[in-house]
Symmetry: C2
Subunit: 418 residues, 2 copies
């Protein structure tokens, strides 16, 4: 697990904060209640180096198939087109044709080949896109492309499904005496039936980074943040996280300054830290806005026999409905936490374990402690709760972000009937 | 996956229905509300061949440690002592000493070595057993050992935690012109905080079966039933399923008739079918009584590339909170079902999938069908719902039993605060 760098994250920065990007959005009624924006376009002024990670679900949505195809053929991209309200998943050949058509329509407006466009969708599964509406949305969004705080927020709003607020974050850092920006927008895991937890994330930067280095950085940043975030363990068909680098931050600073950042350099490390910090902020915003969630719970597992064991243990704790309902009830039910670790395929037993809720150690080497009830209650009452399980078996460590499980989770996911 | 045999299961038969077993129970206040029985003893009149399967959780309760020990040293057993209301888990050395003491106390009353006794506990984790009460309970239960319907029900009641009714089942079959009985009792997965889903099962038979054959049969029966049952995917620290064979059914029928059933024989197959049918009934009774569950859902996956893929897919569907809340809401949200299969590590995609809810095919080869809404509504309204996903990729098949996820699940597991 990479540590999450302590960097100053600015929530007023969005996808057009780095130089070289413009965004636009439109409300055309792909979402049922139609005043809300539901089509978004992100355009790069010139070819941008690109990296992306996608869902590993075998049931994969058409836009993911198309974006993957485009990225295997090209390492630079000119734009992204996205819609909310319809996932274009489980829609067969017509769905694939529609996703390709979305890329073509955006490409015509931006002035590039269709393959230079990435496509992302989020929303209900198993329904065909209303392509007349989508086409109108792409036209409208493309005609209003611009940069700045308003464009950032319209883009962030247009990808929302059941999110209660837009989610964006950015970091500024100095590289070769120039200011470089990394920023992004994401959507949360609201799961109103029949919608799914289809998480999308769009990151932009004006740092000069080539696609191969960009890919490694995005993969590691996603592993440490998005891939350690769970609301209910149900992996979606549409998950997409894209990172585009325009390289324009240093464009005016002479030839040497514009040289791409080299893998393994101090600059690369600083840039990776910035990308990770932005992803971490976006993932936390998702956890905080999770439908039905009332608390954000950070689970740290240390002392595991391996990193993989640590990750499995943290994931099992984060996904256990028994653990999550206990947090909703503010019940320090530590037996559920240690037993979830126990079934996660770890090689050590309770006799070396130590569990703390907040700063209160409640279980130590196979035995409950005489933990102070009042302090424990205060920990459980807080909105943000830290769980630290040390397995006492090695040096493996991992971290997971999750939320609790409330009546509203059941309400949101059961009551709305198709 | 073994198919579940269609056998006549009799719910009036319990642990003393087979010849050679007696049971007793006592209410001594290990459970908080003390009128309910909470200590049980099952005694074999003579040495019984024994097999057991236990939780694979690394955080394992003291009684499981002790029972495993005893079974590695002996293949015959004289009795079982069990309590509800306290799991004796995460209780360190004292917990282990207490579990051994339970075996010793029961052994004194039955008249055998302590190692001839198996121990099982269920209930709250992380608290020491009130051994004075437990001792009184073992004395009381042992003094009232007898066979018959009343003894069966007292035993089944004494192992209940949050079950709303006792759970038992039996099968009679003819072997060598004699009537052989297989019967058992189990407890359900009620999970009132701070209790856990600690499932215990006790099976008895008077068939003449040696321990090695018994072990294989129990393992396969558990795999096809108990191990395909999930309420929330949280594996407990105490899971124990025991099968004891007295061999007394054929004792009066002459020397040839009393010969142990041979592995691979037609008799062995009939006996295994009976054990599986009893386990299947017990598992269904657990699913039907699951706390917060309003429906029993049977998930069949066929056409998988392998049996392991089928099992993973069925398990992912059965454990997904998104799928379970949709069933609670009677919402035919099939996108959640196919996407759960998609993230289970299967090798095929949606283009070969076919999904039916009840007898209504709703998704076929990557596309939604024009399923009849009224028929679909009727399927979703039923208490028992069959889900059949064919992956169209091979011959692997699996089956899972589960329940839905309701407000009561959250209530039961969150509201009761320690």
């Amino acid at each position: 697990m990479s540590a999450i760098p302590a960097m100053q994250v600015d929530l007023s920065l969005g996808v057009t904060a780095p130089k070289g990007f413009r965004a636009g959005a439109a409300a055309v009624g792909v979402k049922k209640l139609s005043e809300k924006p539901d089509v978004a376009v992100l355009a790069c002024d010139a070819e941008a180096q690109a990296a992306a990670v996608f869902t590993t679900n075998k049931v994969v949505a058409a836009p993911v198939v198309v974006s993957r195809e485009h990225l295997t053929r090209r390492r630079t991209i000119r734009g992204v087109v996205a819609n909310s309200g319809n996932a274009n998943a489980c829609t067969g050949k017509q769905g694939l044709a529609d996703a390709r058509q979305m890329a073509r329509l955006a490409a015509e407006r931006i002035g590039c080949p269709a393959e230079a466009i990435l496509v992302a969708s989020t929303g209900v599964i198993g329904r065909l896109l209303p392509m007349d509406k989508v086409k109108a949305g792409i036209d409208w969004a493309s005609s209003g492309l611009c940069a700045g705080p308003e464009a950032d927020l319209s883009f962030a709003r247009a990808i929302m499904t059941t999110d209660t607020r837009p989610k964006q974050a950015g970091v500024r850092l100095a590289i070769r005496d120039c200011t470089v920006t990394v920023a992004g927008a994401t959507k949360g895991v609201g799961m109103i039936a029949p919608n799914m937890a289809t998480t999308l994330g769009f990151l932009t930067t004006d740092a000069p980074v080539r696609a191969p280095l960009l890919k490694g950085i995005l993969r590691r940043a996603a592993d440490a943040t998005y891939n350690c975030l769970t609301v209910d363990g149900h992996m979606s068909t549409n998950d997409t996280l894209i990172l585009l680098a325009s390289g324009q931050a240093l464009a005016g600073a002479g030839k040497a300054a514009a040289k791409p950042i080299a893998a393994g350099s101090r600059e690369a490390a600083a840039f990776e830290a910035a990308v990770t910090a932005v992803c971490d902020s976006l993932a936390r915003q998702i956890a905080a806005d999770a439908e039905g969630g009332t608390k954000v719970i950070e689970i740290r597992v240390t002392g595991a026999a391996s990193g993989a064991e640590a990750r499995r243990a943290a994931g099992a704790i984060a996904n256990s409905p028994l653990v999550k309902t206990a947090f909703f009830g503010e019940d320090p039910n530590w037996g559920r936490i240690v037993s979830a670790a126990g079934y996660a395929g770890i090689s050590s037993g309770p006799e070396t374990m130590r569990l703390a809720l907040g700063d209160v150690v409640i279980f130590d080497r196979g035995r409950p402690t005489d933990a102070d009830e009042a302090r424990l209650k205060a920990v459980m009452k807080a909105h943000d709760i830290a769980v630290h399980l040390d397995l006492g078996a090695g040096r493996g460590r991992a971290r997971y972000l999750t939320c609790d499980f409330s009546y509203d989770y059941v309400k949101i996911n059961a009551e709305y009937t198709t």
